[in-house]
Structure formats: C-alpha cells, structure tokens
Symmetry: C2
Subunit: 308 residues, 2 copies
C-alpha cells in the first residue's frame, strides 16, 4: 500500500478518505455495541489467549524495504495485526510512536484496519493521558471518537476528576497506571502513605480506589508491570475483579508463568502485553511469519501456566 508522499490523491480526496475512515469506525462501533469488558472476555475465549500485541512501531527497526521509512508504519503494523488477529486477546498501539513521526493518519487507518480484520479483538490505546477535566474531555474525544479505541491507559496522578471524563463513555475501558516496573516506578508508586488508613503504598491505594469508589460503571482496569510477581499478587488481592494490563513479559516461560499465577483469577482477567519480541522477531521480509511464531509461543506459555 502506498504511503502519503507517494500517493496520487489530491488533498480534498484525502480529506474525504479520512472522514470516511472515521465514519466507518463509528458505524462499526454502532454495529458492535459490546462493552470493552465483554469484548475482552469474548476475545480471550475465541482466541484462547491472554496475549496483548503491543504496536510500538520504530522505523529504525523495520525489516527489509520498510527500514527507516516512517511512511510504512501502517503497512508494518497492519502486517503484524493480520498475522496475529486470531492469537491476540487485545491490541495495544502506543500513540507516542505515531506522534513522533507525524503519523496520526496512519494510526487512524490502523484502527480502522484492526476493526475490519479483527472485529472481535479490543484495542487499547496506550496514551497514559492525565489532565484536568476539561482537557481530559478533549483526550477522551481523541481516543474514543477520533481513533475509535475500546479502552485507554491513563495516569491517575491528577486524581479522580482527571479520570471521570473517560468513565462517562459507558462501555469504554480505562486502565490506570498502578505499579510500573521501570526503574523510576519506585520513586512515587512504592512510597507509603502516612495519611491514608492502614498506611498503604501509593500503588496499593490506587488499586483500592480503582476496585472501589472510583469504579463507577465497572470500566476501570490497572496497569501493573510484570517484573515483580509478588506485587501483581498484591494488586490482585486489592482489586480482585479488575482486568490487569501487564506489560514487560518477554517470551521467557518463567516470567510469563509467574505472571499468570500471580494475576489470573476466576473473576479477574489478565492481559499480558508483548511488543518488541513479537514486532521485531525477524529483521527480514519474513517478519510477519516470525511475529506469528513468537505470538504463538508466548500465547502457549501463558495458556499452559493458566492450567497448571
């Protein structure tokens, strides 16, 4: 498929094309009024999967002819989606990788493509927005209307009114950052709060709020890093029914298995994200085949751990 620079359409045609893509997304949403939670359960069942395929396109790592060509972001990601549509519980495009390359139009096309080839797989837009109510309202329009996402990731730092505008979109999901496993995750999330009953750690407090008073319409989930299974277990204890989005799992059986044991419960699903191990499984033209192999392998490890 040709990129922007090479195409022959004039701008008026491009605008119509864009408007039409957006319209199609909305139409498909109307035809599929399932909530994010229902879509998640259905995709898990149908694809026998707890695997989330993260879409973090880096042109410098693209294979073959796509290498270093940002106009191929859509083509690259669409090939990954096509190769994993029957293996994924969710897709998670990371918006920064599109924004850095002025590729919002390619993200719009990718969202429409995912809806078209994998209508049963929910899409989580990883944006980690966090702003006051009136601005959050704009970000909610971006995520849910412009891009047609089924769920977003959010930073809870500015408090409940920075989260509530997303909850007005009934049926949409919102994953709050809770405990991240980057080195800086300890800086604040792991601090003990003297002024809250029981002196929980900050991430424990967030888990409680998300399971309880903040979860007005059952739309909330939590982002919990995979590095420390004991912390996943603690979050699961405090938030027994919330979906947990767990990034940071490679194809190593040990980590993945420990993650599943720590996080999966009968009433509480886990969505285990893998991005680079799948996207860049091969640097050659066979990248989509290699991505499928890697996704198959990771899915199998996760499923095996669930039945142990």
């Amino acid at each position: 498929m040709s990129g922007h620079a090479g195409c022959r359409w004039n701008c008026a045609a491009l605008s119509i094309h864009r408007a039409s893509a957006s319209y199609n997304i909305r139409m498909m949403q109307n035809q599929n009024p399932a909530t994010f939670t229902a879509m998640l359960a259905k995709a898990q069942q149908q694809n026998q999967s707890m695997l989330c395929v993260g879409l973090d396109p880096e042109p410098t790592r693209f294979p073959g002819n796509f290498k270093n060509d940002p106009s191929k972001i859509f083509d690259f990601c669409a090939a990954i989606v096509d190769a994993t549509a029957d293996l994924a519980m969710a897709f998670k495009p990371q918006i920064a990788y599109f924004a850095a390359h002025r590729a919002e139009d390619q993200l719009e096309r990718l969202m429409a493509h995912m809806r078209s080839v994998a209508p049963q797989v929910p899409v989580i837009l990883d944006a980690k927005r966090g702003d006051i109510g009136s601005t959050a309202e704009q970000y909610a329009i971006e995520a849910f209307e412009r891009y047609g996402a089924d769920a977003v990731t959010l930073s809870p730092f500015m408090g409940f009114d920075s989260v509530s505008p997303y909850l007005k979109r009934h049926g949409k999901g919102a994953f709050l950052l809770c405990r991240t496993s980057n080195p800086g995750g300890d800086d604040f999330q792991n601090q003990r709060l003297a002024s809250v009953d029981g002196q929980p750690l900050l991430y424990e407090h967030i888990a409680r709020l998300a399971q309880g008073p903040w979860n007005l319409n059952g739309q909330l989930g939590l982002v919990v890093g995979a590095t420390y299974p004991a912390e996943i277990e603690r979050v699961r204890e405090l938030a027994p029914t919330l979906p947990l989005l767990i990034p940071g799992v490679g194809a190593q059986g040990g980590d993945a298995a420990a993650t599943v044991r720590a996080g999966l419960r009968a009433g509480g699903s886990i969505i285990v994200n893998s991005s680079r191990a799948i996207l860049y499984a091969s640097a050659d033209q066979d990248f989509a085949v290699a991505a499928r192999q890697e996704a198959l392998k990771t899915r199998a490890i996760l499923q095996a751990a669930a039945t142990q």
Copy 2:
C-alpha cells in the same frame, strides 16, 4: 487561509510543505540557540510580563464566522498570538485541543507562526506526558523536533527515568506537575509520605527532587495551581530557583496579586497562565482586540503585585 479540505495541492506537495515547515522550525532553532531559561528571562524583561497566554482552542467557543469550525483553529490561535506577542512571557498551547480535532497540522503551523511573529517568546507545549524511557524518547521527539517547543509539561508519576529523556535535550525546559488545584489534586499530591525523610507531602517531595537531584542540567520547572497561595509559597520555599508555571489565575486582582507574592523571588521566576479569560474575552469579530485588552489588564495586575 484555507484549511486542508479546501486546498488544491496534491499530497506530494503537502508532504513537501510539511517537511519544509518542520525544516524552517529547525533552522530558526539553530539561529536562536538560547536556552529556555534564557528565553524566559529575556521575554520577561522585554515584554515586562509574567503572563503566559494559554492556547486551548475550543471551536464551540470561537467568535463570529469561526464558530464550530475546527479548520479555523490555526486562524483563531494565530490572531490571539498576533494580538499578545508583545505582552506575553510565554505561550502555552494545550495539545489535547488540537488532537481532538485532528489538527496536528494546524499546531505545526501555529508553532512556526509563533516563532516567526514572536521569536523572543518561549513556547511551552502543555502535554503532561509520562511514560517509560523508550516511549518518553518518542514524546521528546514529538515536542522538541516535530513541534519545535522550547519546553514541555510532564507528569512525574512514573519516576525519574520517565523524565530524564527530556533532559538530554540541553537547553529545553521541562515542567513537572507538582501541586494542581483541580478537585482531584488532593487525591495523591496532598498525601503524606511515611517512607521519606521528614514525611513530606507528595508534592513537597516532588518539589525537592526537582530542585535537587533530578535537575541535572538546570532544565526543570514545576506546575503549581494558583488556588492556594500558601502552597505556592511552600513550593517556592523548597524550590527557590525553579521557574513555576502557575495556571488557574483569572483577571481577579486578588488571586493574581496573592500568586505573585507567594511565588515570585529574585532568583525564581513565575509564569502565570491565563487561557479562557483571554481567548474568549469576546464572542464577536473583535475577539483579538478584546483578548489584547484582557492580556494587558492581567499583565498589569501581575506587574503591580510584583512591585508592591
């Protein structure tokens, strides 16, 4: 100026146009190698101002013929910039208001316009990004390379390594959310940390980190809401030399004066943001004149408070 839909260029021409706008921004940056801090001091001096003009374009509130027309976001914001270029210490576009309307191209044009008509006024891109290092790197490219911003706002929730990629851009500024005055600002920022020496509140801890160990190259500032002057004073005590970006001041003399007294010190500047009071000072064709009057008034109140 015609919007996207109406133009007659083909897409190849559009790509060239975009690439050229981006190139021009970079060229202008190279011609103006001043650091954000130096630009801020110069703008304050030259425009005799502590006023930041916030650009939060809402088409539903646009005046006259622009009303409800998202293709007029650039025209509206450019008129505000033209009317206040000699009155502002900084401009602060809020990216959510552009993203909700697929108006990234208009934001690119606005950034180039600000650089052209007000080269002495630094531009703070209000994006409140907060993500792990590799993703933060993409957001830094978006803010500093794509849009050519002089500074960004960031959420510190994910810790130091979510901030450090921005600090690699020497000379650029980064304002960390510290104490926000929205209702949810209390939820976490005002919690006392049992596990940090002296049991500071979370926002106090952030202020200390930003003044001290996190401020590797003197690029950090803090975002502190205007609602509670006592808290601005406390932040200033802990961060005596950091620039404070203070949103939430209307044209009321009392608030603005209290804000200046609480935050302004010989070695520590304040950047007092006003958005809607200026942008929507009139709903008619005279909106730019009315915006200028409002900016003049607010600037005067701030300057008067500084000399009391």
